[in-house]
Amino acid sequence: MAVLDGVFREEWGRINAALIHQTGDWDLAEECAQDAFAQALRRWPRDGVPDRPGAWLMTVARNGAIDRLRRSRTYRAKVEELAVMATRETGTSDDAEPDANADDGGVADERLRLIFTCCHPALAMEARVALTLRTLTGLSTAEIARAFLVPEATMAKRLVRAKSKIAHARIPYRVPPASALPQRVPGVLAVLYLVFNEGYSASGGDDVIRRDLCDRAVALTQVLAELLPDEPEAKGLLALMLFHRARQAARVDDSGDVVTLEDQDRSRWDQAQISLARRWVEDAFAARRPGQYQLQAAIAGCHAAAPTAQATDWPRIARLYRHLADMTGSPVVELNRAVAVSMADGPAAGLALLGRLEAGGALAGYYLLPATRADFLRRLGRNEEAADAYAEAAALAGTSPERRFLNARLAEVRSLGPGGVGSDL
């Protein structure tokens, strides 16, 4: 039932978050949310989809929680609390039929609580990612395991351990106070960015699940950007994701090979998403509190704005990368900056920056370092050196499309001979 899939994505996190808050029991919340969706799957095809599917599901899930707690007999106080809430929201007693007009006000904040708890710094990064995907997006343990290429049992253990730590070390279930937000928001954004990148970069694994990861990361980031309007980095990250996703269709050709930005068919970029992204990045910049996601989004926006690769505003991109490099100190950013400088001022200028980066040694073993050097050398017509660098990069590349691309370039420079004419762009 297609409508249920959409509702599931939209509502799973809200329902789970509300139940965790009311019962304090993560497993109970998950079971009851699952049961509510199972009931919907049985009843909606027969009875029709209720006017407010989210409220219907919330009521069914909450009634399920009351039932289970009542049977366990040890949580009398919580049962009463839940019953009071059910009555307040539906105007009926807790065992009445789900009411389609039930009020689900305030649950948006519940989701925010859940995000901050799942992304608590006292949990390992991999546990934060898994817990966020499971509890907020409803991705199954098996699906998360497949997306991150680990056995399902490993992923299940990771989730159990994270939930156990939340309970026993008493990780609070709440949105941090405003004074702690600057400390905590970056950690949450890092989780969402990691999920998006895992889906976007395709370092291996199932394609469908990977695209799905991107969509779920975007949806969660949007929740965060909307609920935390004073956090420009949340908006920046959302814009960044949208710019990237807008190019998704043009990134890989029909045979599954990577198409570089300069060779992409720009008519296949999703202009609606690009203009949406642009609005978010402008909104973020208006706060005058720049951050790494905002700068990355601005860079992605430069690419998106260029009707052709030749028309790209490389000097502006190089400038933005310099701010980003100053802010992050990241060698990967320096590498990207070298590429932008090579486009703005020529490959020789790029090569000079690259030389400094190579001397630093921080990117040793990273295939994009020799791949970038190879590209600069090819454009300078130094084909023999370029061929060596392409071969080195191909040996380090992780996935076969990337390797195929590098090997194609290797063959191209070899065919040109040692002193062949380089094509700058």
């Binding site: 006292a122 390992a124 156990s164 008493r170």
Partner: protein
Amino acid sequence: MQYMLIHAGAPGLDDAWNDEAWAALTAWLDDAIGSGVSIEGGPLRLDADATTVKVRDGQLIVTDGPYAETKEQVAGYDVIECASKEEAVRWARRHPHSWMGSVEVRALVGGAPVVHLPGPAAGKTRYMMLVCTDPAVEPREFGPVEPVEPWVAEMSSRGVRLFGSELEPTGSARTVRGKDPGAIVTDGPFAETKEQIAGFDVLECADLDEAIEVAAKHPMARAGIVEVRPFRSLEEE
């Protein structure tokens, strides 16, 4: 003199509890509490529930896991009062942890003596805070460690720090392993790690965020590593 008996054990320690170990623990508690030697103590949650806190360049760094990657982890402790280290070692030899893992004996130095306290207040969680050295921090990077007294005064008056103490240097520690009469006593701490426990405090906080905040304000958060880990409650047994 007060001594801390640090119980250490490898993963799977829980499975090592058999009838003999329980009987030995019961006898130990009967004698140590009955004679007034044992002042305080308790078991900790497993190291998976530990969180480490440090502050570098003014940035708070919170990490999942214990203060050091060692095979054996701190599993619990006792503070005992006795006349000499030799006597403290004798108590350690009788404790079942000495053969289930190891027991490190360290004298408490400085600070008020530890006194027994009733269980945690409603809605509060008790944490063991282990204050550890970090050899990765060069002494000249941070200068002399600030005095701990202002932290002790602030946290005690807030009611979040119950008691605690610095421990004598690890060079004076004794570690007991094995079952008497064959138990072996060695000089030095239970783990050969560069990071070492330098002191401890028992905290009582509303939640982990408060424990992290308290730990981050300790002077050793800037000069070392501070681990916070919840105690094991009786309901879990």
